[in-house]
């Protein structure tokens, strides 16, 4: 199997996997970064969202071969000790129910707020529409994104 060089959370990594392996499974099975979750495998639920060069990306549908020289950030690398404004807001609002979708929600929200620090409610809803929460914690997700925007501003 071919080897690939990856930069994940600022650390260079080498993995030996088949070229069609999605980033999701490289992270989970090969790099022990299991914070990124598997939900659907077909880019429909957002549970697997990571940042690739700062852009929210579905890692289940991004193969390893597409990632050369790209900077990958996962939930584990979003901040040290959970201090990113989005993580803080998630804690303040106590968003999770089962919690399984929340890493993906946080990664989507943080990439979105990096582009648009002062979003309207409609913009937040649009940005988060691609992430399913089966427990339907949508009310709190929206509130947490709003709080995070405020945290970032101040």
């Amino acid at each position: 199997m071919p080897t690939y060089q990856l930069k994940v959370n600022g650390i260079s990594q080498t993995v030996e996997v088949s070229e069609d392996t999605p980033l999701l499974w490289v992270l989970r099975d090969h790099l022990d970064l299991v914070g990124t979750k598997f939900g659907c495998g077909i880019a429909q639920c957002g549970a697997c969202t990571v940042h690739v060069n700062g852009i929210a990306t579905r890692s289940c549908s991004t193969t390893i071969a597409q990632l050369e020289n790209k900077e990958i950030t996962t939930i584990e690398g979003l901040s040290e000790n959970g201090t990113h404004p989005v993580q803080i807001a998630w804690k303040e609002v106590d968003v999770p129910q089962c919690g399984y979708c929340q890493a993906g929600q946080i990664m989507t929200a943080s990439a979105f707020l990096a582009q648009n620090a002062n979003p309207t409610e409609e913009e937040i809803k649009n940005a988060m529409h691609g992430n399913i929460c089966r427990c339907a914690s949508y009310t709190r997700i929206k509130k947490a994104v709003q709080n995070a925007a405020k945290n970032i501003e101040s």
Binding site: M1, I42, D94, C98, G99, A103, M128, C135, S137
Partner: protein
Amino acid sequence: MSTTKKDNSLVFSRRGFMKTTSLASGGMLIGFNLFQSCKPKAEPSIDLASLNYNDFNAFIEIADNGAVTLYSPNPEIGQGVKTAMPMLIAEELDVAWKNVYVKQGDLDTENYTRQIAGGSQSIRSSWEPLRQTGATARQMLINAAAAKWGVDASECTTSEGVITNSKGETLGYGDVVKDAAVMEIPEEVTLKEIKDFKIIGTDASNVDIDKIITGKPLYGLDYKAEGMVYAAVLRPPAFGQKLESFDATEAKAIPGVIDVVKIGESANALLNSEKRNWTVVLGSSEKVVVIAESSWIAMKGKKAIKANWVAETTLESTEFQDEKLNGLLDGNNFTTLREDGNVNKAFASADEILERTYESPFLPHNCMEPMNFFANVTADKIHLVGPVQTPEFAAQAVAAMLERDVKDIHLEMTRMGGGFGRRLYGDFVFEAAEISNTIKKPVKLISSREDDMTMGVYRPAIKYRIKAAVKDGQVTGYHIKEAAINGNMYGLIPNFFPAGAIENYKVDVANYKSNITTGAWRAPYTNFLAYAEQSFFDELAEVMNVDQVQLRLDLLENVKGTTDERIQYSPERLQQCIRMAAEKSGWGISKDGVYQGFVAYYCHNSHVAEVAEAVIEDGLPVIKKVTCVVDCGIVVNPLGAMNQIEGGVIDGVGHAMFGSFDFKNGAPTTKNFDRYRLIRMKEAPVVETHLIQNEFAPTGLGEPTLPPAGGAVANALKAATGKRIYKQPFMQDPSFWKTPEKEILG
């Protein structure tokens, strides 16, 4: 077991399910069995000497420095019990919640048996026993301090982990913990009065929040063990099919595929044996399993298997099931679950009769974390790890299947990425165990979303036909018939409202046995029954020309003072919810372009009223808001409770609007989220929640707000469009089509 004193505090004299000991490190450890203490009427073993610490699965540890750690072993599926249950202990122990550390059994914990079942009854049934546990520990600490001071224990008070005597001297819990550990367990303890609660009723964050937001391993799918391989299972694509032959040549050629094996024999043998004295889904068919070095390769290998399947029984389609259910409703083959008076007489003398039929499809659970389990079967031990809601049962079944002693099994539960009923069924545990037993390796069974959605234990398709008689402005007769797949409503459901409110009342059920596996789905039966009945009441109110809210209030008036013990809902409490929901939502006060739908419902021991609001946007109805009033007694953790309530309402709205699941030739026609539609951010209504404040013991919250939501939506849609929808999902109704030919969504 308990007596109520005049001052309303509770005195307990039941001991024996606890044991204390001093720790080598200097603190005190109090062991108790959470599983036993959660069965309200179970008589625990009284013989203390016969108990050792292996009999306990939950512990309070008080360290020398006064720090309190509560070890909570209860399974957490997202309903918040891991936070709420320790709150009950901490309240009576009288420590500050911020100083309490709740420790979860971590994923790699060895030698720690915690075979605990969860469910929506957790808080209700642990309300008194857990408080009693905390109160007992507190009393022992007081007794130790009193002995030290040479004063009477009754002179001492506590606050936030500090004991004070009448002279004003103080001792911290940590100062007396060593002495307390060897004190006798008190015969009687007094529980706090509700007005004195400091923790119960305050907001506490999810105890796993830090791990969740930083992506720490928590869930079954995150578990790893030395030498572990991955297994993807190829099951028959359709219900009713079985494996005839398969060719694994291509799969085996994929680098990283370790082996391809067949399983199903052990499960089959168990299924057909006498040992099978439980009801369960074992998946009787033989399956092909790809064993690989990674998840991706296992899934890829599975796709490369060439298998031939043959039909063994009928390959059912949705049309076929529809016909069966309609046949049952039209037929005469019912079992009567409740009968009051004589409905036929009521119909014969009625001024008006209303009869309607309501239909719902199968539904998959779609837990966000697909089914998975770890198993390592070796000659001396069986290690099982993962998300399952019925670990005791799973362990027993695995032992029976592999002909092993259940004592060989060590089962650990992980946090669960949703349950909704699906993880009550241990099919994936048995599969994982059989695979490990076959390949003699530690293995993680994984499922793709397609596997998860097609190997379901679905909410069965159901139809209700309801008929009511009206005479002289009163509802005089009510007859509900249920036609369902594989099972029928059970327990006290036939005695829910409007049972007891209408003189002539009858509940009839019939079912068709299908080869499609079905089971519990969040709020079984009521999740659809509430919509059917509450839509029917709406229409009944129209026929009777009375206000929807008034009709419900009037019917409930008839139930007051009932002596029927099967009636467990309280007409007064439900009326209170109804009045508050009407007031808070501005019911009957017309708002331009806003159309309201009302429901009131009782299930899972809680009373709920909801008002949904629809508006028309771009010519189509949209649900914008739901006002929800809940009476679930004392609310232990309002922050967690609100999350459950909002989630339940939005989940209920989502499945009523979009949940569609059909079969063709025995196979589900939707297999992933591209075709299966779950509610998302933009469709989620605003939920305005009001909790009724009272001093009743707490009741369930994980489920009760879901069933009414579908009814509230249906009634609001009727108000908005003038059209009643008799079939879920609503999105497939022409009211949601832009043009008659084109379905825009769903």
